[in-house]
């Protein structure tokens, strides 16, 4: 027991001392950085790399590392060392991938140099969690009752959504988004027939979907709106329905309520009546909220089901729900409205561009003037 306490104390003191050391180290490196800046302002460029080297190896915070590498970039440019300048700028981007040189703040040669580089993420990964609901769009109404003017009243039911994917960035604001989602969907269909009898069919599906979209995202600010459009391949994993009949017969005693008899069915597997592979097109949008270099996002998406979920030749058979419960599915497409929240992790990749993007610099200069 005593031994255990000692171990805990040892770990505690070790952690505290490590934090204190780190703080001390950062403070020391701030002095180093100030010294390097003083040297730079005094025109003494040759020692700056040496001054910064220890802290660059171990000691700078991310922000200090950015400043140090910006300083080194300027030094290398002034010393006519383009390779060194590029390396320093790459290190700068590694320290802060979102650093963008500004004509109003940074020397023009750094701005020009910066246009040869980017740290835009090639891939951003994200996960999402949310809910959905599925409006039914009827292609053909199929009425198993001979009665005409029977209406099918579809109503929405909640579902779940869980998934993740990757944004493959084509440009900083334009990405090809590929996801793999798992979703549950549901809807109910109510019919009144045979005078007052009520039949309620509740259909529940499980899906795996592969949405592919083109996404446009605002790349500035803490809150960044985005929008997208695409198509999704949908694999129906399971489909189970329940058919509940409430038989209501007029009470022969005048003024009395109908005589009711509720008869639920067990859960019925509807997969043999469904197309397993479907697809949809969708549009959506949302906002990203910046947290450090990552993002939280909230997303709203509407998918238009394109395919008839029902295998047309299975509407009638010699057994099954039609014969047992008098149930037929309309031919229908299933839309989906999904709302989700998630987390985006961009994988920044500082790199030199094949073609420098220098066209916008003059615009920036004229704005600054």
């Amino acid at each position: 027991m005593i031994f255990s306490k000692r171990i805990v104390l040892l770990i505690f003191f070790s952690a505290v001392s490590r934090l204190l050391y780190a703080q001390k180290s950062t403070d020391d490196c701030e002095e180093t950085l100030n010294l390097a800046a003083t040297e730079f302002n005094s025109g003494r460029f040759y020692n700056i790399a040496k001054i910064l080297q220890p802290c660059l190896q171990n000691g700078f915070s991310r922000e200090q590392r950015q400043r140090a590498n910006l300083l080194l970039t300027q030094v290398n440019l002034l010393q006519d060392d383009p390779v060194g300048a590029e390396n320093s700028y790459l290190d700068l981007l590694r320290a802060n991938p979102e650093f963008v040189a500004d004509t109003a703040r940074d020397p023009i040669d750094v701005v020009y140099l910066s246009r040869k580089f980017t740290a835009d993420p090639v891939i951003s990964a994200f996960v999402r969690l949310g809910g959905n609901t599925s409006p039914v769009r009827v292609i053909h109404q199929i009425n198993p009752s001979g009665e005409i003017n029977i209406t099918n009243n579809y109503s929405l039911q909640p579902g779940l959504l869980l998934g993740g994917g990757f944004d493959i960035n084509i440009r900083s604001e334009l990405a090809l988004s590929v996801e793999l989602n798992y979703a549950t969907t549901a809807y109910t269909k109510k019919q009144v027939k045979f005078n007052l009898d009520e039949k309620i069919f509740t259909d529940r599906q499980h899906w795996l979907t592969l949405p592919i979209a083109v996404k446009y995202t605002d790349t500035k600010g803490i809150v960044r709106p985005y929008g997208y459009a695409g198509f999704a391949l949908q694999w129906l994993i399971s489909d189970n329905g329940q058919i509940d009949w409430t038989k209501n017969d007029i009470n022969p005693i005048e003024g009395q309520p109908p005589i009711s008899n509720f008869i639920p069915s067990p859960s019925i597997d509807f997969m043999e009546f469904r197309n397993k592979f479907n697809y949809s097109v969708f549009v959506g949008g949302g906002v990203r909220y910046k947290i450090g270099l990552d993002f939280l996002f909230a997303d709203l998406r509407y998918s238009f089901g394109m395919t008839n979920l029902v295998i047309p030749t299975t509407t009638y058979s010699s057994a099954g729900p039609m014969v047992e419960y008098g149930h037929t599915d309309d031919y229908f497409r299933l839309d989906n409205l999904a709302i989700s929240v998630g987390y985006v992790k961009p994988f920044y990749k500082p790199r030199k561009l094949k073609t420098a993007r220098t066209r916008t610099i003059l615009k920036g200069l004229s704005k600054g003037a």
Binding site: L196, K247, T313
Partner: protein, 423 residues
Amino acid sequence: MRNWFTNTGGVGLLWSLLFFFSCDTSSSVDPVFKDYFIRYYGEDGDQEAADMLVAEDGKIFLLGTSYKNQSSRVYFIRTNSIGDEEVKIAFESNENEIAADIERIIAGPDAGNYAVLSNAIKNDVDYLIRIRIVNADGEVLFSFDFNRLSSQYANAITPLRDGGYYIAGKTTDIDQQQANPDLTLDTEDLLLIRFNVQREVVEGGTTRIGRSNGGAAIKVFQNDADSDSLSYVGYSDELQANDNIADQNFIFRRFKSDPASVKTRFSGKPDFNERMAASTLSPGGTWLAAGTQSDINNTFNSQRVYVVSLRSQFQQINRDIFLQENRPEVAVNVTPAGSSEFLVLSNVINTANGTRDIVLRKINLNLEYSWPDEKVTFGTPGNDDTGSAVSELPNGDILIAATMDLSNQKKIALIKLRSNGRF
């Protein structure tokens, strides 16, 4: 740009995407459900099918019995050719009734209308026979009863070319004078009743036939070739020559005025009961009759469908029984299919719970199956589903009138199939 697009197969890709994203719409998805279907009909309570008639204009008439509030009424439904309900009426009555038959009237003042036959319960055990003349909208134009006996029960009505009607059925009045000396009681006799064009019973036209313990006339036919010639079919357990055991057999008789005193053709297996359910005359002049065969003690599990094909003068062509995985099966109805085939409707019984499923077979005159799978079956093990009538449409499609058990309520069903028995 154009070269790049072409070289990279962009055109093909674009076409592929356009094809891929084509949307299923009402114009692109074929509404096959309209041609072949099951449609249900009913109201409060339970409704059971009895018979079906397809008019020349394609309208379908379904006749059944509606049970609700501890009463039963004749239930008349008219649909269009795709089963959309157009008329639905429960005929008013002071008695509880059970629907039996609907036929189109071919001559006389009622021609073009329909004769609806039912059995009204006049006390707990006895019936009277009721005939309603109704138009296509189900309006009752005329109604008359036959109630001369203590008990009479009708199976079928045949509108005649002279505007009259023949009714085939049975009576359960005890008739000791006619009793078969070898039987303990003459409990059931075949009954034929003839009405003239004024809908009055033809004197001498009420005929109680036979000395059977169990028997009934099933239907009277008016032969096309000779308008004076009539036939009737039924079953009876009257002893035949060289027969020591009074087992029920199919009987076939041709007559002109007196249905009793004519030669009888029999069909049946010795020492087995065969109770006819239905018989039909094909356009080619051949007959097919179907009934339920059981052992002499009418053991429940011994029930089988017994069919016999006959030439126009009732000479037997072939006879057979349909076996269904050792499950009891009861014959219901037959109808011609084309010029030389027949459809046989029956109900097979699930021995575990007593519920029934509907069975349809197509056979030829040699009683060989027309379909590779021999039969089609409708129903689920937990539900009691029964067929009542079958009919073939001019294009070969098949209609079945049935009673389906939907979540513990019975509803009349119209099933439309392809000529191969499939949806």
